[in-house]
Structure formats: structure tokens, C-alpha cells
């Protein structure tokens, strides 16, 4: 086999395969068609499937996502793109008040098989409105699933699963992973909800997702002594999320750190810590902590942004502190 696909190629391939398999799958979004997407993720799909399957849209995200939701309850399976996750601000209603709730409000009268594709990726001076990781906002809304693939394998498999899911899924890509190839492309597919042990260890457990998986793995590979003996778990999906594997790990290691790119304050780490504490309180002999971004908007200037986001240095420091305290 030639080179394994890049993360973005894995996304593209999942879209192509599902569109091939099921005529009801359509794509919608700003410049996802002829242009192939602002990052090239949907390249070739317009040519292959045509304008009735791949819908370029005006910049009218609330209308587009609302229409996608209406199409989803009318027999199609739309994959609608929000170009940057930050822009859920202009189209939250169809996601949160319509798609997430329609099946419930109708007492099961409809299913809403829709995927909201969006991407995030701080750390490249995108500025305050193009850098946010807002997965906690979505994960808080009953009726939504939230997938955050960390590598090409999961980018593919979780998108396939999202498209086939009868309910709405927010599928969050990380653009800083787009060009990465995957060591483990041959890894078998895992279902959503099941965390994956990326690296075994006995001294402590680190839980994360998205870009922070590879970031943390790189940090761990550099550490030595006790700090090297850390278990790393990729949560993969925030909803659903079966923490049994994580709890088992923390019972073993006695310490836990949740790392995420999202702002720490009222961020996704709180949920994970709170659930773990419920399950493992009497088993831990060290701290259960979070490391997320600082409670500020994302600054533009590189040194400020490096300070704001969880950097390799801060991750390393947090892991050392976890082991020492």
C-alpha cells in the first residue's frame, strides 16, 4: 500500500464512501462544492457527485443549517459544514433548538440524521473569533452527539458513524491535524463512546482528545523517570462517553489529568473530573485535575496565544505536578 491518507483525506474519503453508498447523503456549506472547501477537505466531491448532492451555499449559516435540519427530517442525510466552530454563534438555533430537540419534541415522530461538520484549531494566531474550542457548549445540549477525532483513522471512522447515526452529530475536526498521516491507519474501527488507550502507563492517567492527543503523546515521549510512565487515553467523543476505561485506569494509577484545548473555566474537563470523582474518589491517592486554556479570549500575538493555550511546557509541568503532589 502507498502512503496512508492524511487526516483531511480520511474525512474526504469517508464523505465519498458514504455518498457513494447512500444517495440520501448530501453536503452543504460555504464553498464546499466547486472550490472543494476552504481547506480542500471536500475536494473532488462536487465533480463526482454533482450539484444536487454537494450544495454550495451563500453565507447564511442559520438558514443553511436550518434547511439541512429540515432536509434531514424529510429523508435526506445532510452533512452541513460550519466553516469555523466559532461560527456556531450565528447558527446555534438550528443545531440546539431544532435538530437536537426535534426527535424528542415529536415523541419519536422524526429522526434527524444530520452531521454538523465543523473545525477548530488554536495556536496559529487565528485570533479570538477563529480559534475557539466550543465542544462543551454542544456537549451540554441533550440530543446532540459530539465527536472529536484525533487522528486520521478516527476522522474516517467517526465520520462514517456520524453519517449513519439517526440523530444529529457535531463532528469537530482540528485543522492543525489536517495534513497529518496516521501511524495507526490499520487500527480497527472503534465505536463512538469508547475511549482508546493511546499509551499505557502506571504512574498517572492523562485524558484528552483532538489535537491534544498527539501533543500530549509527544510530551510524554520526551519525559523520563516516573513521568514517562503515564497512561494516555483519547476520549474520542464527548457524547456519548463511557468512562469505564478511564475510571479503571485511574483506579490503577491513582492520579488523573484531563487536558483540553478549550477554555478550562466551565469547559469539558469539569464534566469528566466530576464523573470520575463520583466513580473513583476512594481509589485515588493523587490529584484529579484539569488543564485547559486560560480564561481569556484567544489572543493573536504568538507568545500570548502560546501562554493562553495548553502548551507542551504547561502539559509537561502539569504532569510532573500531578506525580509530585
Amino acid at each position: 500500500m502507498s502512503e496512508t491518507p492524511r487526516y483531511m483525506e480520511a474525512v474526504n474519503q469517508a464523505l465519498a464512501d458514504e455518498m457513494e453508498r447512500d444517495d440520501d447523503v448530501i453536503l452543504m456549506g460555504v464553498d464546499v462544492g466547486e472550490a472543494g472547501g476552504v481547506y480542500g477537505v471536500t475536494k473532488g466531491l462536487y465533480e463526482r457527485f454533482g450539484a444536487e448532492r454537494v450544495w454550495d451555499t451563500p453565507i447564511a449559516e442559520a438558514g443553511v443549517l436550518g434547511a439541512a435540519t429540515g432536509a434531514a427530517i424529510s429523508g435526506l442525510r445532510p452533512v452541513a459544514e460550519v466553516m469555523y466552530m466559532d461560527f456556531i454563534s450565528v447558527c446555534l438555533d438550528p443545531i440546539v433548538n431544532q435538530a437536537a430537540k426535534l426527535r424528542y419534541m415529536t415523541g419519536g415522530g422524526v429522526t434527524v440524521p444530520i452531521v454538523f461538520r465543523m473545525q477548530t484549531g488554536g495556536g496559529r494566531s487565528g485570533g479570538a473569533q477563529h480559534s475557539q474550542s466550543l465542544e462543551a457548549v454542544l456537549a451540554h445540549i441533550p440530543g446532540l452527539k459530539v465527536f472529536c477525532p484525533a487522528d486520521a483513522r478516527d476522522a474516517h471512522d467517526l465520520l462514517v458513524e456520524a453519517i449513519r447515526d439517526p440523530g444529529p452529530v457535531c463532528y469537530v475536526e482540528n485543522r492543525r491535524l489536517y495534513r497529518r498521516r496516521d501511524d495507526e491507519w490499520d487500527r480497527p474501527a472503534l465505536p463512538a463512546g469508547q475511549p482508546r488507550i493511546v499509551r499505557a502507563g502506571e504512574g498517572a492517567t492523562v485524558v484528552t482528545w483532538g489535537r491534544m492527543v498527539s501533543e500530549t503523546r509527544a510530551v510524554l515521549d520526551e519525559l523520563d523517570g516516573a513521568a514517562a510512565n503515564v497512561e494516555l487515553i483519547d476520549l474520542r467523543t464527548l457524547v456519548p462517553c463511557d468512562l469505564a476505561i478511564v475510571a479503571e485506569s485511574v483506579r490503577r494509577t491513582g492520579r488523573c489529568l484531563v487536558v483540553h484545548e478549550a477554555v478550562e473555566r466551565h469547559g469539558p474537563g469539569g464534566e469528566i473530573v466530576a464523573r470520575l470523582v463520583e466513580q473513583v474518589l476512594w481509589h485515588v491517592d493523587g490529584p484529579v485535575r484539569r488543564l485547559g486554556a486560560l480564561p481569556t479570549p484567544v489572543p493573536y500575538s504568538p507568545p500570548l496565544e502560546a501562554e493562553m493555550l495548553p502548551s507542551p511546557e504547561r502539559i509537561a509541568e502539569a504532569i510532573r505536578a500531578l506525580l509530585d503532589d
Binding site: E52, G70, L76, Q98, T106, G109
Partner: protein, 316 residues
């Protein structure tokens, strides 16, 4: 103008639909006051001709979306008043199994994609249904109902823009019922609703929303080209919200002359007048039938069980 026999039959059928809506909503209001119906309830008394006239000509595959004031559209599109009443009573036999309530009443199997608690929220949904109709070549149309208060919303603008951009089979129906909550229609400087619609490049017609056959004719005229792929159409129905904005509204904002309009605008009275006295006996009988139907609906709703607690987790 002389009416054909077919038209008379249509008028009789429409009258029946309107009467069923009226009696249903009167019962809803009564049972809201009695504490059987909960939450926020908005009735469409005075606006029945729009629902009946617009939904009458729709086919089974055509779909509608509606607003917080959606009982009438549901009944006109074929929803079962008994299941609707059970819904409003919060019962397990409700049309949404008690989960939706008045503001989310729906019956997707009948093409009723639901009421909506968010002003403007249903409009893009209908556009999406139109998109699905186009992609799947079903030959069906989608019809969002919304109030004149919704046209200022971004959702309206974006939905209109998409429907035009993609030539979707959508017939927009705006009910100008005189008020958005406590604010009179036309309070805001700006174009009329019809002119606003035309500005998107969409044919728009205004129609007397108290005249059910006029609404029906306008919808028929609009639905045909929309269905044929000639792009969306728009109707403004001038109607009249006889009740308060919500059940319990003390209506201090009403202007004196408001109620005076009632006699000439009541769509049931208008239809009855058009029918003349020739049908009095039949209509009397109809009145009894409908009263019975609604009474029975209430009775069965009141007897139906509430959902069991564990159902809270179903359908998430």
C-alpha cells in the same frame, strides 16, 4: 360572482375545517383556564381561514411547518384533534406522546413538521424540506407558516434567500394577524411584508385571510408553479387575531376599534354569509358533529394516562 357547485362543496369542506379548529381551540382555552392544558398556549381564533384555505389544497406528501400558534394548521393538514388534545393535556396518547405540547405540536407522518417556539425557527426547516423535495424529485412542496412579526428575523431572510437561490418548491405563507405579541403590525418603518417578499425576486400576493376560498385560490395559484420547479412563491394573508397573544393575556394594548372588526372579519361568519341560508340545516348538523368530536377528544384526553416517568429517556 356565481359559485360553481364544486366551489360550494369546497366552501362547505373548508367551513367544516374552520369550525373544527375553532371548537378545538375554544376547548383548549377552556381547559387551559381549568388547568388541564399547561405551559404557553396561543390560539388562532380568527385566523382559521388561512389554515383551512392554505392546507386544503395540499397533498399528503406536501409538508408544512408552523409557529407557536399552530393548532389550526395541524388540524387543517389532517392531524387528529383527539391526539392533539391529548398532547395538550400532556398525556401518553398525545400526538407527540406528551413531549411537545402546544408549541411543538407535530405529526411528521402527515407532513406536519411541527410548531416552533422560536419565532422564525420553522421557516428554514420548510426550506430544507423543499430542498429534499427537489433532490428526491418527489413533486411535493413545503409551506412554512409564520407571523408578520417573524419577517424581521435573520432566519426569515436567510430562508428566503436560499429558497430563491435554489429555486425550491416552497410556498411561504405569512399571516399578518395585526399583532406580534403586544406590538401592532406595521409599527416598524419599512416595507410591507409583500414588498419585502418581492424584493427577494419572489412573486408575492396579498389575500384576505378571512376569506377561505380566496386563500385557497391563492395557494392553488402559487403551489402549481412552485411544484413545477419555477421557484418559491409568497402569500400574505391579512387576518385578525381575535384572542390575546397567549392564553391569559390581559390585552391592555388592544385598541378600542379592534373588536369592532370581529363581525366582518370572523372567517366563519364570512363563509356562512357566502353560503347563504340554503345550508343552514346542514351546518347546524355539522355544528353538532364537530361539537361532539371535540367533546369526545377532550373526554378521551382527560381519561388518558400520563406518560410513565421512564419515558423521559425515550426519543432523545
Amino acid at each position: 360572482m356565481a359559485r360553481s357547485k364544486a366551489q360550494t362543496q369546497e366552501l362547505l369542506d373548508s367551513y367544516r375545517t374552520m369550525l373544527r379548529i375553532r371548537r378545538f381551540e375554544e376547548a383548549v382555552a377552556r381547559h387551559f383556564r381549568a388547568g388541564d392544558v399547561h405551559g404557553f398556549v396561543h390560539v388562532s381564533i380568527g385566523q382559521e381561514a388561512v389554515a383551512a384555505g392554505a392546507c386544503g389544497p395540499l397533498g399528503a406528501g406536501d409538508v408544512i411547518t408552523t409557529t407557536h400558534r399552530g393548532h389550526g394548521h395541524c388540524i387543517a393538514k389532517g392531524a387528529d384533534p383527539e391526539a392533539m388534545m391529548a398532547e395538550l393535556f400532556g398525556r401518553d396518547t398525545g400526538i407527540c406522546r406528551g413531549k411537545g405540547g402546544s408549541m411543538h405540536i407535530a405529526d411528521p407522518a402527515l407532513g406536519i413538521l411541527g410548531a416552533n417556539g422560536v419565532v422564525g425557527g420553522g421557516i428554514p426547516l420548510a426550506v430544507g424540506a423543499g430542498l429534499a423535495a427537489r433532490v428526491r424529485r418527489t413533486g411535493t412542496i413545503a409551506m412554512p407558516f409564520f407571523g408578520e412579526g417573524a419577517v424581521h428575523s435573520g432566519a426569515f431572510h436567510e430562508a428566503m434567500t436560499l429558497a430563491v437561490a435554489w429555486s425550491l418548491p416552497v410556498v411561504f405563507v405569512c399571516e399578518d394577524n395585526g399583532y406580534a405579541e403586544f406590538t401592532r403590525s406595521g409599527s416598524w418603518k419599512g416595507p410591507t411584508v409583500a414588498d419585502r417578499a418581492r424584493s427577494y425576486g419572489m412573486p408575492a400576493e396579498e389575500v384576505d385571510g378571512s376569506d377561505v376560498l380566496a386563500v385557497r385560490a391563492a395557494v392553488l395559484a402559487s403551489a402549481e408553479p412552485a411544484r413545477a420547479g419555477d421557484g418559491p412563491r409568497f402569500l400574505v394573508a391579512h387576518t385578525f387575531r381575535f384572542s390575546g397573544h397567549y392564553e391569559g393575556d390581559p390585552e391592555p394594548y388592544r385598541e378600542d376599534d379592534d373588536r369592532a372588526l370581529w363581525d366582518e372579519r370572523d372567517p366563519l361568519a364570512v363563509a356562512r354569509k357566502a353560503l347563504g341560508s340554503r345550508h343552514d340545516a346542514a351546518l347546524e348538523q355539522l355544528g353538532e358533529q364537530v361539537a361532539e368530536e371535540i367533546d369526545a377528544a377532550v373526554k378521551r384526553a382527560a381519561e388518558a394516562p400520563y406518560p410513565t416517568a421512564s419515558e423521559v429517556f425515550d426519543h432523545v
